[in-house]
């Protein structure tokens, strides 16, 4: 298929034409007569976004999300690749389960689905999962995480960090000291004191990060910190990077802008792990995004069926959906930060996560020959976020009713338009064939 994207501002620069042929970017003018021309006047072209942290719930909780529905949501959010967390039922802790998720992703064809494997069997934190078998499986797992749980045993963490070095793997840690957060319901602070909800101290996250950056540097392993949520965590990561540790870190869009004041409503849509923190924490996270301490913005998209959120706070599940509104929310959160332009969006939401996750077809530049994973963004599309307008099964979007001005216009997955003018089109035609490039 030949596509001509007319007049897009690549990374926010001058308008230019982009041509796609056979799934790759072509020299302008070389592609001949296009099958499809997209008028991109006023639109921004970015490399397809890569979400390092999503929960697709399949297998096990298909009432919450499936690989199919999650992939559609990803495409609508401009993501051409997502990394699916391992806390499914059964846990993605064997080659069989990760291959199943990987295959479901290929068959869906809306985005590239790369499974993350569990660090410990059943996420129980007691013995290592079959890390090598998952790495050598068809899914080619490189990132391992017990996300949802912390690998809290220091010895087990050290062993995991060392073990995955053998196949250039990486541990993505969910930093939460379990004893310090027993029964915790929200950030520990003046709001939790007032609301009488058991608090979740910042130190419970920071203590694990401090321990793990020391361990990672000691054994010379790569370490990725999931969803950093506190100012103290940022300080520790900054310090570790200055010492040359191979650390990367991510933040969610919601932690950049939402704060624990929202919990005063006791509306479980604001219940999330890690919890919403203070305005000072959010400001420190935005600064860390600007100065490069934080490498990645990832959604931690965590859909839940309505009954897990339509209840009292203490009984509700933790998590928020986020893929479809991530770009708009990041733009909203960073609107007053000097120096956060489209190139930074591309860096934090595409190039860095693609590099860290080792996805060669993703996060590229716009040079001819590159895989045509591209998103067109409309920066002047004011609208109100409506959780019902979603391809995800989850409606637990804390940004319901928020006014934003950025919308995903089109998403091209390996040269195929999966979203045009905000509407889902068709999955990649090769998704059910062996020619599928992923």
């Amino acid at each position: 298929m030949r596509i001509r994207i007319a007049g897009a501002r690549v990374l926010g620069g001058q308008a230019q034409d982009i041509e796609i042929a056979d799934g790759r970017l072509a020299e302008p003018g070389s592609a001949g007569r296009p099958d499809l021309t997209v008028d991109a006047d006023g639109l921004i072209a970015l490399p397809g976004l890569v979400d390092m942290h999503v929960h697709l719930r399949e297998p096990g909780r298909e009432d919450a999300e499936t690989v199919e529905t999650g992939s559609r949501a990803a495409a609508r959010g401009g993501f051409t690749a997502v990394l699916a967390m391992a806390n499914t039922q059964p846990t993605a802790d064997t080659a069989g389960v990760v291959e199943q998720v990987w295959r479901l992703g290929r068959e869906s064809g809306w985005t590239q689905v790369q499974p993350i494997g569990a660090v410990t069997a059943g996420l129980e934190g007691t013995r290592l999962a079959e890390l090598g078998a998952m790495a050598r499986s068809a899914a080619g797992v490189r990132i391992f995480s017990d996300d949802g749980h912390c690998v809290s045993d220091p010895l087990l963490m050290r062993r995991a960090l060392e073990y995955v070095k053998g196949f250039d793997g990486m541990i993505a840690q969910h930093a939460q000291e379990p004893r310090l957060t027993e029964g915790a319901q929200m950030n520990e602070g003046v709001v939790s004191a007032e609301l009488g909800l058991p608090g979740w101290p910042a130190a419970a996250e920071e203590a694990i990060i401090a321990r793990d950056v020391l361990l990672a540097q000691h054994v010379g392993a790569r370490l990725h910190i999931c969803h950093v949520s506190t100012a103290g965590s940022v300080e520790i990561i900054r310090w570790a990077k200055s010492r040359g540790a191979r650390i990367t870190a991510e933040v969610t869009p919601h932690h950049l802008i939402l704060t624990d004041d929202l919990v005063r409503s006791y509306d479980p849509v604001y219940k999330v792990n890690p919890p919403l923190r203070t305005a000072e924490d959010a400001a420190a996270l935005r600064q860390a995004v600007l100065d490069g301490t934080i490498d990645v913005i990832a959604t931690d998209h965590a859909p839940h069926p309505a009954e897990h959120k339509c209840c009292e706070w203490t009984a509700a599940a933790m998590g928020m959906v986020g893929m479809e509104t991530a770009l708009a929310v990041v733009r909203l959160a960073m609107r007053e930060e000097e120096g956060f332009g489209w190139d930074q969006v591309a860096r934090l939401m595409s190039r860095n996560p693609a590099r860290i996750a080792g996805l060669p077809g993703q996060g590229h530049g716009f040079e001819p020959g590159a895989h045509a994973n591209i998103v067109l963004v409309d920066p002047g599309a004011p609208h109100t976020i409506d959780p019902a307008d979603s391809a995800s099964l989850g409606r637990n979007n804390p940004f319901a009713g928020t006014e934003v001005d950025t919308a995903v216009h089109s998403t091209f997955l390996y040269g195929h338009p999966v979203v045009l003018d905000g509407e889902l089109q068709a999955p990649h035609p090769a998704s059910k064939e062996d020619t599928w490039p992923l």
């Binding site: 602070g189 004191a193 909800l197 203490t314 009984a315």
Partner: protein, 326 residues
């Protein structure tokens, strides 16, 4: 302040709180009448929705509703999560379909009454009868009522403008001692006493005080003996200590707790001679409160129980009559 539900003591400004206490004085006179009943809520239905056992509180609300001639339905709901049966939403919508006029909620989870009031599942006014470790606003009102009576006197046979009527607690110093962290009574009392102009002093080991307590409108001390000497309180309110807490390292053991934070006979004597002793009950005699203190003529424990009905009548009357916006 247009009060549509009573979820937290912070829903009450000074004027509304004093109005409720004055109203409770009128309600209290009903107990002495030939017919111990008022027709104010005749034909209206109040549900006691209890997700957590509390016979004392339920009976108090039930008596209050019945003295106002309301029909009372006791609904002991089991479990609080979807995995354990009916969800809060389904329960709420069931009550709405039955056409109830007011819901008294007791729940082990903080914030559940807020959720009931704000999720749009039912329109009826909600009264928080204790939610998790959050609040118990009617307990704070009855404590304030009890204190106001002993500090300012009862109104003489209901004649308006005499006794405590219209007065607040300005100038009084109230010391709250014990497990503030897990106490919904303490949270509501700090707020209500502050609203009514009293000075509040919390005394507890730091483990049993919430992080961020310094943002509360009160003073905080760790040493009970020093605090008694420093503040010479008008009343001390002893909080119930759950002995399981010692297994969670909140304090070493019951002996040490009692020695440092219990209201012993010696500490009772160290209090000003006109200081009052309060306890929301049920008491652990010999732990947070000695028998000498519990049985002393300065103890208001039974007054607190007796006043609960009048205060809850006032609350029900206030929320269930008036604007038909419910």
């Amino acid at each position: 302040m247009a009060l549509t539900s009573l979820l937290s003591a912070s829903d009450l400004d000074r004027r509304t709180a004093v109005e409720l206490l004055d109203l409770a004085e009128e309600m209290a006179t009903v107990a002495g009448r030939e017919v111990k009943k008022l027709p104010a809520l005749r034909g209206r239905t109040v549900v006691n929705l209890f997700f957590e056992d509390s016979t004392r509180t339920r009976i108090s609300f039930e008596a209050a509703a019945k003295r106002l001639s309301a029909d009372v339905i006791n609904f002991a709901a089991k479990g609080s999560s979807v995995s354990k049966g009916e969800s809060l939403q389904d329960t709420a919508q069931t009550l709405a379909a039955m056409g109830v006029d007011g819901v008294v909620v007791r729940h082990p989870g903080s914030g559940a009454p807020h959720r009931l009031a704000q999720a749009g599942w039912l329109e009826a006014p909600i009264i928080n009868a204790g939610d998790g470790t959050h609040e118990h606003p009617t307990q704070a009102l009855l404590d304030a009522f009890t204190l106001r009576r002993v500090l300012h006197g009862e109104p003489a046979s209901g004649a308006a403008g005499t006794g405590a009527d219209g007065k607040d607690l300005a100038g009084a110093t109230v010391m709250i001692v014990g497990d503030v962290l897990h106490s919904r009574v303490a949270r509501s009392n700090v707020r209500t006493l502050h609203t009514l102009g009293a000075s509040v002093v919390l005394v507890a080991p730091a483990t049993l005080l919430p992080w961020g307590v310094e943002s509360w409108p009160c003073q905080v001390r760790y040493d009970l003996d020093e605090a008694i000497a420093e503040f010479a309180p008008d009343a001390v309110m002893m909080l119930r200590i759950q002995l399981e807490r010692m297994h969670q390292a909140f304090f070493p053991n019951a002996r040490e707790y009692t020695r440092l934070w219990g209201l012993s006979a010696a500490r009772l004597h160290a209090l000003p001679a006109d200081a009052w002793v309060m306890h929301p009950g049920p008491m652990n005699r010999g732990v947070e409160i000695s028998a000498a203190a519990a049985d002393s003529p300065r103890a208001l424990v039974l007054d607190q129980v007796a006043n609960g009905v009048a205060v809850r009548m006032a609350t029900l009357y206030h929320l269930l009559t008036g604007e038909d916006s419910h």
